[in-house]
Amino acid sequence: MNKINQKPKLAVWKFASCDGCQLSLLDCEDELLALADEIEIANFPEASRAFIPGPYDLSLVEGSITTPEDKERIQDVRRQSKYLVTIGACATAGGIQALRNLKDVKEFIDIVYAHPDYINTLATSSAIADHVLVDFELRGCPINKRQLLEVITAFLHGRKPNISRYSVCIECKRRGMACLTVTQGAPCLGPVTQAGCGAICPAYNRGCYGCFGPTETPNTESLANWLLDKGMITDDLVRLFRTYNAQSSAFKKESDRHE
């Protein structure tokens, strides 16, 4: 057997998403050739129309489940995949499109589309883990390419990925930045959001938007109480928790509590 046939097969799948997380894989410019040496990219439509049939050793799944067709398709992806890793906020929490879960989707369709009867969609946008067993969830909107490489490397070498579940604050302070909430009273979800981005937004003087979803033990209630106490209006607080990870349980619970 030659080396090509021994290489693990990687497949990338897209569900309801913006493609930004898949793009993070293409964005691994310096490492892409090394990656192609170690792994056979069997299905990655964003990069190539070449397609090698399954089964696959590792499937990276981007996007959420929003249509009856995708609900079936994810079952098929799972059946063909030895390991299934979801990438990004859509796949792990339903994404920003999960804001539909709070409203009547039929109403939107009637307003937006000239022929609403052409649209066949589900009432909710849901995470992949709500439908099939997921081996690992990689957070982010989009995911961080270093973390993606870490997950793939860990998979290749049969070890646990070094992905921390603590707060963005720890990354922020390791970078030596001063807390925006403390110095400016800026609303920042850093203390309740999982690290991984390297605290990008605080580095550009913006509070954390919570792209990486809740930490391992998120105390959203305490943070919300503090922000309200410091003058934030309830509507803004609800919006703060309802962005890319609006349907992740901790953020959903907190925003619902104030509505």
């Binding site: 490492e31 090394a34 990656l35 040496d37 170690e38 490489l149 870490e150 793939i152 490397t153 290749l156 070498h157 070890r159 070094n162 921390s164 579940r165 603590y166 707060s167 604050c169 720890i170 302070k173 390791r174 970078r175 030596g176 930045m177 001063a178 807390c179 925006l180 909430t181 403390v182 110095t183 400016q184 009273g185 920042c188 850093g190 203390p191 309740v192 003087n205 930490t215 391992e216 033990t217 105390n219 209630e221 305490s222 943070l223 109480n225 503090w226």
Partner: protein, 383 residues
């Protein structure tokens, strides 16, 4: 007065000369500078990198910069950084290795760290450095990274002449006056008539540097003025902690209801541990590249507020946030004394100011202490 202890007066305009002398001697001068809405520690290329004419206002969870109505060079209190960022860096590569046959080979030695001159070290911070000295250099094993950065490091200390509302060094007996462990110490005196420094040396190295500066001899009046200014900091001390029997008080209170309150308030974000000048916990992580040919071992600041910190077989032994806060406070104020012979808290107040929800360690200790008092009274009444 011996050779190492000399006192002089220095004109603030000549402060830049001190930095220049230190740079010429090969020191990398680092100290306070204004950035990101705070006073942080970074490289000082000239005295104009100092936050001249700025001050800060601090409260639990709040820090704001303000203009002063003078041109004080050190007219502020401690900010979010501490000197541990230089002595115990937040992220350090311990070593890297390359696969060779069945084994591996360690790659070349890491670059030597710069020789630092710390400018503007406050009394509480000097105590914090001494606390970390014990941790990293005081035991059977010395941490080579810390030792390598600490041994030739020069300290230009500054006596505090004002205190923040979050300060409580007087309770911890760590300030506001610098007592030992410095090469030079300055007291900035600003009154109606004059703006100058009383500068004193505390080591032979410091005395030699002092000789190179243009100074005038310090008189009795100058010492008096310095003492009055330091007294001012004492008067402004914003917080207090009753350290009487602190160990006993805390050890009696592992099950105090207050921890449940903290369970509700604490975010477990780790900010207090990152800001604390004595917190020394680190995590060691191995990383491999895609090919598996190259591996690196990194040490990063860790926090007892993360779940991984106390993860053992079966999960974290401190699953509740309250238990993690209790671990941190207990260690800082009580078990540290058993472990290292001194308190782990120096009263700088960083954990109070930089907690995003303003949890105040002094308030928590008081609440626990008061409830203990209540219990004792209760017992007394029962008798």
């Amino acid at each position: 007065m011996n050779q190492t202890q000399q006192s002089h007066c220095l004109d603030p305009d000549d402060f830049g000369i001190l930095l220049k002398i230190l740079n010429e001697k090969g020191y990398l001068t680092v100290g306070p500078t204004r950035r990101d809405g705070a006073i942080l520690y970074d490289v000082l290329e000239s005295m104009y990198d100092l936050p001249i004419g700025w001050t800060d206002e601090q409260e639990a969870g709040i820090y704001r910069l303000k203009r002063r109505d003078d041109n004080a060079l050190f007219g502020y209190n401690v900010g979010p950084h501490s000197w541990k960022k230089y002595l115990f860096p937040s992220k350090t590569k311990l070593w890297s290795a390359t696969k060779k046959g069945a084994g591996f080979e360690i790659d070349g030695e890491a670059d030597a760290p710069p020789t630092y001159a710390f400018i503007g070290v406050r009394a509480c911070e000097l105590h914090a450095i001494q606390v970390q000295d014990k941790v990293f250099m005081g035991g059977i094993f010395q941490d080579p990274i810390y030792t390598g950065r600490r041994q030739d490091c020069l300290i230009v200390a500054v006596n505090c002449t004002q205190a923040a509302k979050t300060c409580f060094c007087t309770s911890m007996q760590t300030g506001p006056k610098v007592n030992d462990g410095y090469d030079l110490v300055l007291t900035e005196i600003i009154d109606e008539a004059r703006h100058y420094f009383v500068i004193e040396s505390g080591s032979d190295v410091g005395a030699d540097i002092l000789k190179e500066l243009t100074t005038s001899p310090a008189e009795q009046d100058d010492f008096q003025a310095a003492a009055t200014h330091i007294e001012n900091a004492k008067k402004q001390m914003g917080r207090t902690v009753d350290m009487t029997d602190i160990k006993d008080v805390l050890y009696h209170n592992y099950d105090n209801k207050r921890w449940e309150e903290l369970e509700k308030r604490c975010l477990a974000c780790g900010n207090c541990t990152m800001a604390c000048p004595t917190c020394f916990c680190s995590n060691v992580e191995d990383v491999t590249d895609l090919t598996g040919e190259h591996a690196e071992r990194w040490r990063t600041w860790d926090s007892c507020f993360t779940m991984d910190f106390s993860n053992i077989h079966g999960g974290s032994i401190r699953a509740s946030i309250g238990s993690r806060y209790r671990q941190w406070l207990m260690h800082k104020l009580a078990t540290w004394i058993d472990q290292f012979g001194s308190s782990g808290c120096v009263g700088c107040g960083r954990c109070i100011a930089w907690c995003p929800v303003g949890i105040d360690l002094t308030e928590e200790v008081k609440a626990i202490s008061d409830s203990e008092e209540g219990d004792r009274n209760g017992t007394h009444q029962d008798n």
